[in-house]
Symmetry: C2
Subunit: 234 residues, 2 copies
């Protein structure tokens, strides 16, 4: 076994990450000023982020003023699915760079903000590009990072993509309705998750059957209220 470190690009990337952090702080100041609680949702492609958001909008859009910022390499398929709930939805396409930008960064989010009525949004979901690697490195100014892990992807993913699972403040373990049809070892997944992010909260969920959606929405509301309570009174 050999380990190859690819140092050549590191200096360039450090500069990019530094600029990203500055823009993420500026985004966060804007969110705080508007009283908007922001959730950055990340996962592999096809783990069910958009379907979870559909169930979440169904459950919450009469209780909270919600907005969505959708990140995809191409198409507005996901934004189209969510805009039918009548919530403000902005699509960001990351385009063709590197065969398609593989993550949202703080500047892309910043470019999308003028299209969102932040003052009228209590809860903003940012659905990141489906990718378990780079999105973990680029803060967007969010309040909280939620990772969706589909049980169809196997129990080893926390170990193989530790940066992503380490940055999570909640893990939604999705497609749990398929458990009996898969060779997925749930206790082993839990142990692998604890190995990289001990005791991170996790919710077993099925966007298809609705299992866990209530618990997830209760968690969201509690987080949003806690955040709101911490703002200084005018």
């Amino acid at each position: 076994m050999i380990v190859v470190e690819n140092n050549a690009k590191t200096v360039v990337m450090e500069g990019i990450l530094d600029a990203n952090d500055a823009l993420a702080q500026a985004n966060r100041a804007q969110f705080d000023q508007a009283g908007t609680y922001v959730v950055n949702i990340m996962s592999s492609p096809g783990s069910g982020k958009t379907t979870i958001l559909e169930r979440t909008l169904e459950a919450l859009h009469s209780r909270l003023r919600i907005g969505v910022l959708e990140g995809d390499v191409q198409t507005s398929l996901d934004a189209d699915r969510l805009s039918r709930f009548g919530v403000p939805t902005v699509q960001i396409n990351t385009g063709s760079e590197w065969g398609g930008g593989c993550h949202l960064d703080a500047n892309m989010v910043r470019c999308g903000l003028p299209s969102l009525p932040l003052q009228n949004i209590d809860l903003l979901f940012i659905e990141n590009v489906g990718n378990l690697v780079c999105p973990a490195g680029f803060g967007l100014g969010e309040n909280v990072r939620v990772i969706v892990a589909s049980i169809t992807e196997g129990e080893d993913k926390p170990l193989k993509y530790p940066h992503m699972f380490r940055c999570a403040e909640l893990v939604l373990v999705n497609k749990i309705d398929l458990l009996e049809y898969l060779d997925f070892d749930l206790p082993q997944f839990q142990r692998n998750l604890d190995a990289v992010n001990p005791n991170v909260p996790r919710i077993l969920l099925s966007a298809r059957t609705g299992q866990g959606i209530e618990e997830w929405c209760a968690w969201l509301i509690a987080q949003q209220r806690k955040s709101l309570a911490s703002y200084p009174v005018d």
Copy 2:
């Protein structure tokens, strides 16, 4: 809807891609000289690349001299699974850059080559980092690119990750044994695939049940023989 192009990084990335192409050509020359046929396997995390390779090594390692180059952000879990077949296996960890390098590039492969006895390898599998975006942009010097698409990921993926599906020379449609338990629309997936890469060959496969493995191995052997026949006689 707005479209945000992130031009700031493009100049840097063009330079990186140019250097990558030069190194990929150098890798290819080395593969050709050794008579090694090289398959670059790409997919989302957890779509079943390693399990497919396990079944492939079982079926082929007595007929062809096989080698494996494993790309992962971290761990040697996949290489460990494959090395039990007694084939030369090299693990490349892409490390912590950007929260973990999200793809193999030609230089990483080049750094791994001295650890592989190329002269004694007819067929080399390069298992890329699980990611549907960036690996499509970085040629490694391979002869052929194979994409694994798991039906658990949904039928929209060719449209949402068109660069990846466009560069494919074969698509393995994996986890087909789960078809009856999912809301997956196979004809729609086929149409979406044809929309970005018309008539690309595809094999319906289940690494778990073995369905399609024989067809996939026959395809590999045919490709490898055709390539060998095209080399100039010494």
